[in-house]
Amino acid sequence: MSIDLSQFIPTFLEESFEGLEVMESGLLNLDANDSEQINAIFRAAHSIKGGAGTFGFGHITEFTHVVETLLDEVRGGDRAFTPSLQSLLLQSVDCIRMLLEAARDGVECESDQIGTVHQELVAELEGGAPAPATDTPQAHPADTGAQQQKGWLIHFVPEPHLLMTGNEPILMMSALAELGDTELSVLEDKLPEFSELNPEELHLAWQVQLFSDCSEADVREVFEWVEDDCELTITPLMDTAVESAPAEEPAPQVDTPVEQPTAAETPAPTTQETPKTAAKPAARKASQEAGSIRVGIDKIDGLINRVGELVITQSMLSQAGSELAEQDLPAVERLHEGLVQLERNTRDLQEEVMRIRMLPISFVFNRFPRMVHDVSAKLNKQVELKLSGEQTELDKTVMEKIGDPLVHLVRNSLDHGLEPPEERLAAGKDETGIVHLNAYHQGGYIVIEIKDDGRGLNTERIREKALENGLISPDQPLAESEIHELIFRAGFSTAAEVSDLSGRGVGMDVVRKNIESLGGHVSVQSETGKGSTFTVSLPLTLAILDGQLVQINDEVYIVPLVSVVESIQVADSELQGIAGEGRLFRFRDEYIPIIHLRRVFDVASSAATASTSLMVVVEGGGMKVGLIVDDLQGQQQVVIKSLETNYKRVDGISGATILGDGDVALILDVAGLIKIGLEPTTKHELHRKNEQLQVEEEALA
């Protein structure tokens, strides 16, 4: 029979990666006295090893085996958990991860690190390790008279309790029969009087002549599980001599293992109960691991979709119900009450279902202790990492996407924020710097703060660089906070500047872009000499959003509420007057470009031209723009549907939703819209006008 094991590999990989996380965080905080913790680390390694073997990744088993052995020695107190061992084991975790990733991607793992670390592990093991108890592999007796041998004579006297080990003599006999022809005789001499017979005990014994050229080991294997629960003698069955011998007198002259009583034939050697170690491991304290089930994400998404449908159906019913409101019938009253209840239940259900996809942010935070450990060592800085709010939950998808931006921000704090110890001492600070990661919920958002007590942003230096790179003009008056925001601008950090510090080719603009693509926002507060705080806020889920419905002609679009700054009514004259083509608008103390959605989306124009328009000021990609629409239609929470499932990505549109009447409305992608809606000439114009504005303001001041 063949079973394609590859179908189980994704699960294996998934649980192995989780196991690596456990190992990593465990190794970083290992308290040698916490046996449950070291057990958990050991167990993770053990499972990876076992699974890798089963699913055909022998090289992973081999590598992990050494790690497991070392961990086992630490667990048993035979090996000290030294910093160098910690570091070696952490490297092993990296190696196993690489091996698993290579296995996942179906490629060979080419890293030299694996071989090196493996050698170190083996050296470590051979170095301080206690000599492994030499497991004498079945001392091979000299094969006597093999030529005439035609099989084996087996004398099997089970202990009375054998059945209670779940073993079954009948099955053993059939296993023997598979090795060759057998002749069985049952020895009943130990059978007690019927009145004394305990039906749960076994008092029979067997003598078997097995005619086979199999090895003794093959025979022994059949009795492998009961060798301590029986008397067993196995002697070669010789061609002539033995056959004539009476079967009941086996001569135990050959190679019977030590535990065999020599006087096997003595009648009833009375059941000397094999001394069983009564010491039963104390029931493990039920750890805080809550009962859980593993469910495919597709099932959950299916559930979320269904609930989304339910929400839509519910709002359709509500709409229909409100149209009946004038009817003065008792039934309408009850219908109304029912609808109100339905609405409440639907909302609750939706919230609960959304929560299934939510995981604590600790899944992301967990990678930081290791990273801070490694990076601070490399930078020769002393760093204490504080984590708080790890249990704050957010959607799995958001979590998967926020990891990299957060790593970037933390690295930034380590590289640029925190000073070297001597500089800290000179500044009267503790030589150990602190990086604090904190998470909490606020409204429908999760807020993640990355705070350091380092030197703070260098306002002067940022200003100089922004000037060099043409982001600002000389003499442009900017508040300190505005200067700080410049670090998120595209073109601020140059590759040259980044690489010498941290070897990364991306700047803060990429961080901001990634966060905004999730519908989030990032900002920075900084105080010279005291430190900086980066604040990231993200929607809790990508499945729903709060939207502002806008109308253009008879088409309805949804603007994510998070990007809306303000909605204002503007006279057409205001739009026309500036820069000739109505491309810029004075909003508060700056000029913002205007995007006519009607034009960008090529909406058929309605006959009536109003003298005023509605402008929704939105912010995206670090830029404010005014969207010109015909009408505003209220705000509502909508379920986000992908256009890509059955169609494809559309520029300026992030997805679609289904409204209460069953119609589809498209959701605007503000950053994307700005990209396609603004011509380069408009951008130049904007730059020029805003500079001009600064000059004027200065003149006024």
Binding site: D135, G166, R284
Partner: protein, 120 residues
Amino acid sequence: MATVLVVDDSASLRNMVTFTLKQQGYDVVEAGNGQEALTKAKGTKCDLVLSDVNMPIMDGITLCSELRKLPAFKFTPILMLTTESSPEMKQKGKAAGATGWLVKPFNPDTLLATMKRVVR
């Protein structure tokens, strides 16, 4: 057809074993640790238990000795799935009442062949 209780904290291994058994027509009850297995065992008539040793919450050895205390499991074969083929580990399993063991890694064929030693 016979019912097998499969206990392992690794979902992939459990999936593999379950799949193999179901293909052979066995009914399978799955559990992720000893405690869960014990709870499920109390409501199920099992013909065989396949249990991992190293598991969180309750390990396989403890599970085994707990199962043996249940009248319905007095004679039920219990096979330990173990990567540790050390005599000590086997001894511990036997002491707790295990029937036998199956050394990991194993493939579906080995599993079925081994099971033949304890179930009809």
